[in-house]
């Protein structure tokens, strides 16, 4: 459990009714600002016979090169043609987290208020080709900060390539448990920078859009997609909430149930990728529309979320000795909070939330990397919805992330390839504004910069 999750649950205990309302929106922030799942899967390398560096910038996941994009769109099924590949992988993320000022409460019952050395993730994956046109990415994760395990990301795909007008066109279906987890471009929140972050520090503010992890692992959805001539990507799908029983069976906390999703929930994506080998470019738009009934009662009021985003990326790949990337996205969310308003948990029936992200990275020799990112979350004020832990009823948070990392393996001549994979990194997150203010955002004298988080990590997969 992250500090933000802890904060939200503390608020829940302090005033049940109003906190339930806040939880609905803030829970999106719990995921958005909390630990970012991290993935780099040697089972893919073993299956294809390729090096990690072929599909991943910096020779480590999840930042995809155009080849990695094609592998994912192809349903994780591409192979070197040899039999006997077992689609299993494991991953460990160990970390040390220091915040500029110790937190008001320990982030979890198993951690301290500051200077935590933790096992952030221990994951097992079923990842790779299951049949000729069927592949999967299924992750089960043990969270060492909570001593709890749960089903993590799931993306099961069927895909086949047809000839359309003389051009290869991949048609596929993805069944997954998180809107955006199926996206291949590293610009949407699920797979965006930072690719790993502290489970017990601060990664962002508490408010986030619904597509930014708001329904993560609480839903199941299916989408159909097509990828024409390695360039044009289109996708449309829908989601349903998992029952509370299934959520519990898959290890999700009951308190985080979002409620029931309206039958008209829609996820859509349109993007263009231009792969010139030496460099590549993507640009796209995406959206997510849903209405949530928190109490799951038929006929009750709903909260509507209408998310629309634009995104773009550029990669200079060259001879792979010097690699540079830029990613950016902007998401606008319109909220109509009928349920929250009716229950007196929001001051305004309508509101909006905007998220802007941009980051740039440079990798030398697919080994040494630096990345700098900027995040801005801004939204309309609401003194009830953004009450405890927020200043002025504002969800606004801004800050920057700096990271340097070393990835010694994952190349053609690497020791232990393709079994040994490691990234060591240092990441620092700086806040200009947190939950509505630079200073005293929580009313107890805590400043935004007090949440500045130093995160040292060792991330390995096998």
């Amino acid at each position: 459990m992250t500090n933000k999750q802890n904060s939200a649950l503390t608020g829940l205990c302090a005033g049940i009714a109003r906190r339930c309302a806040a939880l609905l929106l803030a829970s999106a922030g719990l995921f958005a600002g909390g630990m970012q799942s991290a993935h780099a899967l040697p089972s893919f390398a073993r299956q294809t016979g390729q090096d990690c560096a072929a599909c991943h910038v910096g020779a480590y996941g999840p930042q995809l090169t155009p080849m990695g994009v094609r592998f994912k769109i192809g349903g994780y099924t591409d192979t070197d043609g040899k039999d006997g590949k077992i689609p299993l992988s494991g991953m460990l993320v160990g970390a040390f987290t220091h915040t500029k000022k110790k937190q008001d409460e320990a982030p979890t019952v198993h951690t301290d208020r500051n200077n935590n050395t933790t096992l952030d993730e221990a994951s097992l994956f079923v990842a790779g080709r299951l049949a000729e046109n069927l592949g999967a990415f299924i992750q089960w994760t043990y969270d060492g900060t909570e001593h709890h395990s749960a089903l993590d990301h799931v993306d099961v795909r069927a895909a086949h390539t047809f000839d359309v007008g003389g051009k290869d066109t991949v048609f596929g279906i993805s069944v997954n448990n998180n809107p955006g987890v199926q996206d291949p471009f590293n610009t949407m929140p699920v797979w965006g920078f930072p690719y790993t972050s502290s489970a017990v520090g601060f990664g962002g503010g508490d408010a986030a859009t619904m597509i930014n992890g708001g329904l993560e692992h609480r839903v199941i959805g299916a989408s159909a997609y097509a990828f024409w001539d390695n360039s044009l990507y289109v996708e449309i799908g829908t989601y349903r909430a998992l029952s509370q029983a299934i959520q519990a069976d898959t290890g999700q906390h009951r308190s985080g149930d979002m409620g029931r999703l309206d039958g008209d929930t829609v996820y859509w994506r349109l993007a263009w990728m231009q792969d010139w080998k030496k460099q590549s470019f993507t640009a796209g738009v995406f959206g997510f529309d849903t209405a949530i009934q928190p109490d799951r009662l038929s006929g009750g009021p709903q909260n509507h979320y209408h998310d629309v985003g634009v995104d773009a990326s550029y990669q200079f790949l060259g001879t792979r000795t010097h690699v540079g990337t830029i990613y950016t996205s902007y998401i606008h969310e319109n909220q109509t909070r009928n349920d929250l308003f009716t229950k007196g948990e929001a001051t305004n029936r309508t509101g909006h939330l905007n998220e802007f992200r941009i980051n740039a990275s440079y990798y030398f020799d697919q080994t040494w990397g630096v990345t700098a990112g900027r995040f801005v979350t801004r939204g309309s004020r609401d003194t009830l919805l953004y009450a405890d832990g927020y200043a002025n009823g504002s969800p606004n948070t801004t800050g920057s992330i700096l990271q340097a990392d070393w990835t010694p393996f994952g190349k053609e001549d690497s020791w232990g390839a393709p079994w040994a994979n490691l990234r060591l990194g240092v990441q620092y997150t700086l806040f200009d504004k947190f939950n509505g203010a630079r200073h005293n955002y929580d009313g107890n004298g805590r400043d935004a910069k007090d949440n500045n988080t130093l995160f040292l990590f060792a991330w390995t997969s096998f």
């Binding site: 016979g49 599909c55 001879t319 792979r320 053609e412």
Partner: protein, 141 residues
Amino acid sequence: MDLVLKAMSLMKRRTTAPVRLLYGLCLMTLAGVTVPAHAAGDSHRGEDVFAQECAECHSVREGKNKKGPSLFAIVGRKAASIGDVVYSDALRQSGLTWNVASLDSYIAAPRKAVPNGKMKYDGLGDAKAREDLVAYLATLH
């Protein structure tokens, strides 16, 4: 190709020049090899082209097969001839031997050169870049 060169080296010591030339031509013909070596391209540039276009799937190390076969000593090699690689039926039945001309043609448009082949590469349209690339491949012995 190595055998041809060794045979010609042996002939150098035991025959006159016109006979050596005749024998050499005969050996070349028997080996089914078009003289490849003097690819006109810049092999140094070709190494960069290789890194940009080919290295994700191919290694130049001897015996290192990735998704595609090792390209070590590719020039002079019969297509689909490495035992540890799963080739398409189309390439196995192509009867190709890799030389300057066949490599250039294949790299330019793989699916045109070998219909129903399995190499997922759209082709390198830049003739100069192909020339450099093939020149680099010709150095791999």
